[in-house]
């Protein structure tokens, strides 16, 4: 095994000219190269993820005992707010679109860059400005409203830095809008010859669908947070019932953004998994058009279901029924995707490399998380499990089990392209398995807790729930190991990994036809796509030569 990880050093000066060749901090800070901006995003979101993860770890440790002995209630509330805000807006939403999407999407369609490279750089600065607001708010004490900022608590009663936190989120929203706008325009106008809509890679389809959501939903969040801040600063009533407002209106506006935002957080993951399943089964994706249109259907129907967050919030009975019905409709395209991925495996030529492990993990956990979504969409069950750990478990199965695994899978898959190096395969597989096991141990007990009635956002709890909390915390530590490992070996591989060559996986697609790392303008000459995507033949023997394993 040690043979595989022999340190190989390439003299950077002798490596062929590529996007990494230019040195110096300013060559990064003023770059308009989509690949470099992708790297900037990668570094930033890892930082935010780390802070959010530490908050989660402290919370899990606190919940080891029923009385919550580790931190005070006030601190605990600030921690889950911090965790939610950072993980949602500063990790999950930018994770795949802004890191992998930025890096790989223009290459997949044969473009030299995004349509608006300067806008792309601006979006990163805006993102960092938003992050700076949030971090500053956290440093001077944080906010204690939860990431949902429900009024009138947030607007009138909370005694913490709500406006600063909301400003951070508001600002980061513009980064989403700019990225989404850039992706939509790029996909429409920058495709290379032969890259027709139905020869597009599925990753592009799903990012396109994601961008539609980013562009149409985020402005509503912006106005909502603006109204909230105005209400709080000037002490006037917009949502405050004491001044004639309606707090439920806030929830309508908030979830009009935040439910589609859930699809911002999962659709790109689905795109990555489509890529991985095809590449590692060496087979065309089953039902390409259905998978592609399922992304669009999810993006559209995803806008029609937000009211299922408000089944017990004082919404009208009939309104709730409409939303419940529509919520079931959005589950159909998700189910279609799962079935198509499964069918793709049939008659494939399957190799269980690390990215494929993550992809398979994704399918399982996404299916499990999605199915508990069916429970929550059922009005009769939701009225019992709403605002309990059942909900927490459900969306962590989608967000962490789904999106984070897909992000890791995609990062590993394209890592040779990004860094020019191979990561150590064995330890990477171990990390994937550890992550999967740790994840399930962390979040499965929370389903049980939720059905027992354990409410969310509780700093302390009745003793009867302790067993499950202890299990969950144990799982969280294992999950932490699973996350930490890639961080170290990927960094290590940047310097010591074996050079990857242009196409280490012998996969198909524009990105594998150019050198790793790619040159600054991606293509010497504009490429032409002649064959359909994923034009593999599984009957051919394994093209990957033994890599000394």
């Amino acid at each position: 095994m040690s043979l595989a990880f022999q340190a190989v050093e390439i003299d950077p000066r002798r490596a062929p000219e590529n996007y990494l060749s230019k040195r110096g901090i300013f060559s990064w800070l003023f770059t308009t190269d989509h690949k470099r901006i992708g790297i900037l995003y990668l570094i930033s979101i890892i930082g935010f993820f780390f802070i959010g993860a530490v908050a989660a770890l402290i919370m899990r440790l606190n919940l080891l005992t029923p009385r919550g002995d580790l931190v005070q209630a006030e601190m605990y509330n600030r921690l889950f707010t911090l965790h939610g805000v950072l993980m949602v807006w500063f990790f999950l939403i930018p994770s795949i679109p802004n890191v992998l999407g930025n890096f790989i999407l223009p290459i997949l369609i044969g473009a030299r860059d995004l349509a608006f490279p300067k806008l792309n750089l601006l979006s990163w600065y805006v993102f960092m400005l938003g992050g700076a607001f949030v971090l500053y708010a956290v440093l001077i004490g944080g906010a204690d409203t939860g990431w949902t900022f429900y009024t009138p608590y947030s607007s009138t009663y909370a005694n913490s830095h709500v406006v600063l936190m909301a400003t951070g989120v508001f600002v980061s929203g513009f980064s989403s809008i700019l990225t989404g706008l850039n992706f939509i325009v790029t996909t429409h106008t920058m495709r290379a010859p032969g890259v027709t809509w139905f020869k597009l890679r599925l990753f592009v389809w799903s990012n396109y669908a994601t961008s539609v959501i980013m562009v149409l939903a985020t402005p509503v969040l912006a106005i909502t947070l603006l109204l909230l801040s105005i209400e709080r600063i000037w002490k006037v009533g917009v949502f405050n019932p004491a001044l004639g407002g309606d707090p439920v209106l806030f929830q309508h506006l908030f979830w009009f953004y935040s439910h589609p935002a859930v699809y911002i957080m999962i659709l790109p993951g689905m795109g990555v998994v489509s890529e991985l399943v095809a590449a590692y089964s060496r087979k065309r994706i089953f039902g390409y058009t259905f998978v592609a249109f399922a992304s669009i259907a999810i993006a559209v129907i995803g806008f029609l279901v937000w009211g299922h967050h408000m089944f017990v919030a004082g919404q009208s009975t009939y309104g709730a029924m409409v939303f419940s019905f529509l919520s079931y409709l959005v589950a159909v395209p998700s189910a279609i995707k799962v079935f198509n991925w499964t069918a793709t495996l049939r008659k494939g030529n399957i190799r269980l490399d690390t990215p494929m492990l993550y992809a398979i993990g994704f399918i399982g956990l996404f299916a499990a998380g999605g199915m508990t979504g069916l429970f929550l969409a059922a009005l009769g069950v939701d009225m019992h499990v709403h605002d309990t750990y059942f909900v927490i478990a459900h969306f962590h199965y989608i967000m962490v089990g789904g999106m984070v695994l897909a992000f890791m899978g995609g990062l590993h898959y394209w890592w040779p392209k990004i860094s020019g190096r191979l990561y150590p395969e064995f330890i990477a597989k171990m990390a994937a398995i550890v992550t999967f096991l740790g994840f399930n141990l962390t979040f499965f007990p929370q389903y049980v807790l939720g059905y027992l009635g354990m409410p969310r956002r509780y700093h302390a709890y009745p003793e009867q729930f302790q067993v499950f909390h202890v299990l969950s915390t144990a799982g969280a530590t294992i999950l932490g190991v699973g996350y930490a490992l890639p961080f170290f070996y990927l960094l290590w591989s940047c310097r010591y990994g074996r050079p990857a060559g242009p196409n280490p996986w012998k996969a198909k697609g524009f990105e594998w036809e150019i050198p790793s790392p790619p040159p600054t303008h991606n293509f010497e000459v504009t490429p032409v796509q002649t064959e359909p995507p994923y034009n593999y033949n599984p009957a051919e023997p394994d093209p990957i030569e033994a890599r000394g394993e």
């Binding site: 473009a111 030299r112 860059d113 995004l114 349509a115 608006f116 490279p117 806008l119 809008i177 706008l181 850039n182 939509i184 325009v185 790029t186 429409h188 106008t189 920058m190 562009v215 149409l216 939903a217 985020t218 402005p219 509503v220 912006a222 106005i223 909502t224 603006l226 109204l227 105005i230 000037w234 002490k235 006037v236 009533g237 917009v238 001044l243 004639g244 407002g245 309606d246 209106l249 309508h252 506006l253 009009f256 303008h521 504009t526």
Partner: protein, 215 residues
């Protein structure tokens, strides 16, 4: 498409047509986000108007309809002049372009002036939400709600207009400095979309706040 030597195609594009289409599409999508942004506010207005029609009608009577109507007319005119400016620029008439852009911008400034004087009046009569709000008639809370929404909607609109005025000024400067660059035509056209859109939003703000109160 024929390419003149002064064309500056950005390196990520193959040709100017692609660049132009991208710029137009980008602006339309951006305006779509603006529509959703104001849309959220209009939804709030709608919900509260359905809930408190009487207070909203009462409050609307305290707005200055003459000034509001005048402002609407000014903004429509400004939008018209801007669209003429695009045509004259395309026809390579430099002088008229500068005059039209300048007038469009000037009308925008006048709009803000009138809006400012309205704000001042509202403040004097105690309709500025916050400590200065001294209205004591019936439905105090809901009249206040109306004025909160009114100030937010018109304030956000004014902010957009202010940005528009600033960008128009930059465009005028560019046209003065170097006459004809094909690339700039795209910029003027695309920014024109924004200018018209600010007008478009006002076309709805005006009736919602000024007219629906009733006679």
């Amino acid at each position: 498409m024929s390419e003149s030597p002064s064309i500056a195609v950005h390196e990520q594009f193959d040709d100017l047509a692609q660049q132009r289409e991208s710029a137009h599409l980008g602006m339309w999508i951006f305006l779509g986000t603006e529509l959703m942004f104001f849309g959220g506010l209009f939804l709030g207005y709608t919900v509260y108007r359905i809930s408190y029609p009487r207070a909203f009608a009462e409050a609307a009577h305290h707005l200055d309809l003459v000034m509001g109507s005048l402002n609407t007319y000014i903004l429509l005119t400004s939008s018209f002049l801007y669209s003429l400016a695009i045509s004259t620029y395309r026809a390579r008439h430099r002088g008229p372009t500068l005059v039209l852009l300048g007038l469009a911008m000037l009308l925008g400034i006048i709009f803000l002036g009138i809006k400012g004087s309205e704000y001042y009046e509202d403040w004097e009569h105690g309709f500025l939400p916050g400590p200065a709000f001294t209205y004591q008639g019936p439905d105090h809370d809901h009249v206040l709600l109306f004025f909160v929404l009114y100030f937010i909607a018109t304030g956000l609109h004014a902010l957009h207009l202010l940005i528009g005025i600033f960008v128009t000024l930059v465009l005028i400067g560019l046209v003065v400095r170097s006459w004809f660059v094909k690339d700039r035509e795209v910029a003027i056209e695309v920014f024109g979309l924004y200018w018209h859109f600010v007008d478009f939003i006002w076309i709805f703000i005006f009736p919602l706040f000024y007219l629906l109160g009733g006679p």
